[in-house]
């Protein structure tokens, strides 16, 4: 029972929640609706809160993209019903206004990058899987964990409110480069909307730090007996590096945003210099600031951020792929090593977003080298996934389909990263639709695939029911085909030099060759979006009406979460926490289909 000792050693905050060791009845103390569903300290409930909040944001963010795709596909058409629904500021005369268009792309980016793929993805799976897979009763600090969600919630409320401001929400792009984002005179969205954005992001950073510190502590200190670091499932390793990236990089973003706030309201000039605003006909007093400084601070978070998004997806995919190929993950140590390498390199490549800002070319060349270096660990991961399914016995569960889809998208998007990371090519491709296509495939859609993969796989553990398979298959195939149909041809628009964030290209001779294609992309985007709505429906319907899970280990998986009861209470295991005797990937070993981590190694077992 060493784990009990560990648990008590590290849960000083957890006084209100007696941990239920050795008792079967997990509801022996009184839980009100508020403590169970609202201010819950159970990691499994917090996971669901993150997930469902993330889903709400994903729908809103997706809707925004449908709206601006409507504009891109049909720049000349008017949709009077848009004005009825959204009002004059957004869609006067049924036509998306330029300010509104930029507000939409800004909020789409902010919402999906931070609220869905960081909060929704890490928040969900770190909360759910870390205690269950390392063998802990809950997070190191359930209370901070609860706060983490509620800060996320507050951040969501602030950003949501900004959509209803009379001057609109922030509209300077999700990167919100000053001076545009610093000067209300330069853009409507840089008035109150930008303040809301900064406050919302600050709250989000707090949430992310509280969560991240908790994840790291739990993984390092609360593993069950026998669970050495090298026996951890790859999900946990991925979430571990993700949390470290977040803890080290989010504060830098926060500091950058605070300086921005000062420039906006306190008359400082960190980012401002030599500015004349034509709309008010005034020259600002600021001199000596550097607008590029913000970009350094922003991308010092911004680049690790894309790995914060993709690493958890990689972890989920590795685990699901191994379980459903009925084979051990190939090259476990190489997988951990490459995660580590990616995490380190993530901090050393930020300036590849800034090749054309006037950055010193020599400095640029260093960043080229470091950026392309990331392709090596990424290639290792891809080849290891391929070898994992090679000679497997693959079950195409919906989770497995999304895992395979993830690898396909990660390859496609990763390879175009080699184009963009090369400064020579970046001169031509920078800020074109090629970039948009690249990052949507490699971190947008593929992270979503990782997330779907996780949801389908662990849904039975979360709710004790299965999701509907037929809808899941439709969801997968339409989304995979749709993702390629949307973003593959978009590369061609980018190669033609078409700049991103152009809501109407009719004024341009060079960029006006793709009207038919834009219409096609918009149509596919709407179909894909409606299929996501079907997924959300499937999710909620299955919570209440899904087929019931009848065994504790429906996928025949090795990890610890499948040793808990079908409906685990707060504390996860009714009895003692099980002890771990082996790594998580003994599939197909010695002719046995799977061997759970809790099974002691027998004397005549072969070694690997």
């Amino acid at each position: 029972m060493s784990n009990e000792a560990t648990l008590h050693g590290h849960t000083g905050v957890d006084t209100s929640h007696e941990v239920h060791h050795g008792e079967h009845d997990v509801h022996h103390h009184k839980e009100t609706f508020i403590t169970k569903y609202v201010f819950s300290q159970d990691h499994k409930m917090i996971c669901k809160q993150f997930l469902i909040t993330g889903m709400v944001w994903a729908i809103l963010g997706g809707l925004m993209s449908v709206l601006f795709r409507l504009q891109l596909g049909y720049p000349d058409a008017t949709f009077p019903w848009l004005e009825d629904i959204l009002g004059k500021w957004w869609a006067k005369g049924g036509h998306i206004q330029p300010e509104a268009y930029y507000a939409l792309v800004t909020m789409h980016g902010t919402v999906l990058v931070f609220f869905v793929l960081t909060g929704g993805l890490s928040g969900t799976f770190a909360n759910f899987l870390i205690p269950l897979q390392v063998g802990a009763r809950d997070m190191a600090s359930p209370f901070l964990n609860m706060l983490s969600y509620w800060f996320f919630w507050m951040a969501s409320v602030v950003i949501l409110c900004s959509l209803f401001l009379s001057t609109g929400p922030a509209s300077g792009g999700w990167t919100s480069y000053p001076p545009l984002s610093a000067l209300g005179g330069a853009s409507e969205g840089s008035k109150a909307g930008m303040d809301f954005w900064i406050i919302g992001m600050a709250l989000f950073v707090v949430s992310s730090l509280l969560g991240g510190l908790n994840y790291i502590t739990t993984i390092l200190n609360m593993r069950t007996k026998g669970m050495s670091m090298t026996r951890l499932p790859l999900t946990i390793w991925a979430l571990f590096f993700t949390a470290i990236l977040g803890v080290l990089s989010f504060p830098v973003l926060l500091s950058g945003l605070i300086l921005l706030l000062f420039d906006r309201h306190a008359g400082t000039s960190f980012y401002l210099s030599d500015i004349f605003i034509a709309s008010t006909n005034t020259a600002l007093p600021s001199e000596g600031g550097s607008a590029i400084l913000f970009q350094h601070l922003f991308w010092f978070l911004g680049h690790p951020e894309v790995y914060i998004i993709i690493l958890p997806a990689m972890g989920l995919v590795s685990e699901v792929m191994s379980v459903n190929a009925r084979k051990p993950i190939f090259g476990y140590m190489a997988m951990v090593g490459s995660l580590f390498a990616i995490a380190i390199l993530a901090f050393l490549v930020w300036a590849h977003h800034m090749f054309v800002t006037g950055l010193n070319p020599f400095l640029g060349s260093v960043f080229v080298l470091l950026t392309l270096l990331i392709a090596v660990p990424s290639a290792i991961k891809v080849f290891n996934w391929l070898t994992t399914i090679w000679k497997g016995n693959i079950r195409f569960t919906p989770a497995m389909l999304f895992a395979i889809g993830f690898v396909s998208l990660f390859i496609s998007g990763g390879l175009t990263g080699i184009w963009l990371g090369n400064s020579t090519l970046d001169i031509h491709l920078h800020d074109t639709l090629f970039v948009v296509a690249h990052f949507h495939i490699v971190m947008g859609v593929s992270a979503f695939f990782g997330m779907f993969c996780g949801i389908y796989h662990w849904f039975p553990k979360m709710y004790g029911r299965y999701m509907n398979n037929t809808m899941a298959y439709i969801h997968f195939w339409v989304t995979l085909a749709g993702a390629y149909l949307i973003f593959w041809p978009m590369h061609y628009e980018g190669l033609a030099g078409m700049p991103r964030r152009y809501l109407d290209t009719s004024g341009w001779h060079s960029f006006n060759n793709f009207i038919g294609l834009n219409r096609f992309i918009s149509t596919v985007a709407m179909i894909v979006f409606s299929v996501q709505i079907m997924f959300v429906f499937n999710f909620f319907y299955s919570i209440f009406k899904g087929r019931k899970v009848t065994s504790t280990n429906p996928w025949g998986a090795n990890t610890l979460e499948w040793t808990t009861p079908i409906h685990p209470g707060h504390g996860n295991w009714p009895g003692e926490i099980p002890e771990v005797h082996r790594w998580a990937y003994d599939y197909a070993k010695d002719g046995r289909e799977f061997i759970q981590q809790t099974e002691p190694i027998s004397a005549n077992e072969s070694k690997h």
Partner: protein, 357 residues
Amino acid sequence: MSTIFLLLILLLGFLITFQIAKASEYVGILKGEKKNFEQNNRVNGFLMLAFLILGLIGVYWCNELYKGKILGQSASDHGEKIDTMLHITLVITGVVFFITQILLFWFAYRYQYSEKRKAFYFPHNNKLELIWTVIPAIALTVLVGFGLLYWFRITGDAPKDAMQIEVTGKQFNWIFRYPGKDNIFGKKYYRNISDKSDNQLGLLWDDPATHDDIVVNTTMYLVVNKPVKLIINSRDVIHDVGLVHFRMKMDAVPGTPTTMWFTPKYTTEEMKKMTNDPDFDYELSCDQMCGKGHFSMKGIVKVVTPDEFILWRAKQQPNYARVMGGEKGPAAPAADSTKATTTKTNSEAATKLVAEK
């Protein structure tokens, strides 16, 4: 009305899908879980192969459809280097793309569940892992090598005889300044900017070097086969000078001047003939989000022969003369402008002046 109709159809389609999905679950239970699973697995395994084949056809088809619309003839020497780099990268990443995607979907199809097959216990193999660490590393070394070679050539110093033009972005237009016959950009200070009194750049009239500076909006004139160095500024927020036909791009940052140089290879007229498009024009696009007019922040670049350029410049009245109401004759600098284009530009002095504002 049609929107509501469309939504209704969508809803109906959704309801049908849902009913089928629900029914198939019941049928599955009736058939027995194992049989149902095997059937679904076969369907999805087949779809994996189908997706691969259709996908590859799609890739080919998409390329056939759009290859004529991308890139086109590069109109600068730098652009040609970029195009070469692009093709090297395309070949290397293309090979990797096809190999890995084919393997992925083929393996998925080939090793789908079968009752007879046992999965192969294969946890690691150092030799294999070493191979696929080293091969990507070598491929990337090649890419980095070529990339940096071209990168340093493109970002290296402009030739001494390069023509200098100052480009300034503002919401939402471009301002171009030519140094005039003295080949020196006069001093400017942003607090002197006044759109009303026709001083959009805030030139300091006390500095005699400003007196012959030519300031024009929207259209920039370049001389064919003559290197040009752009000194890029912004008046308000960050913009970006994007020259798609020359494959060049550089941010315009307020307070921090940036530079780029290239040599235009074809005049606008030549390009009209080469592209077979009488409406062709080199366009200057803003490539950095700069506010609500970002998508319309367009400039035109006219690449002309040296003679045409001299003629054009002779017609331009210096900003100073315009402001002072024709105190100095507009045609005065015309005679000397020939010299200006050919005299050695004191590039260092000019940039320094700009840097000092």
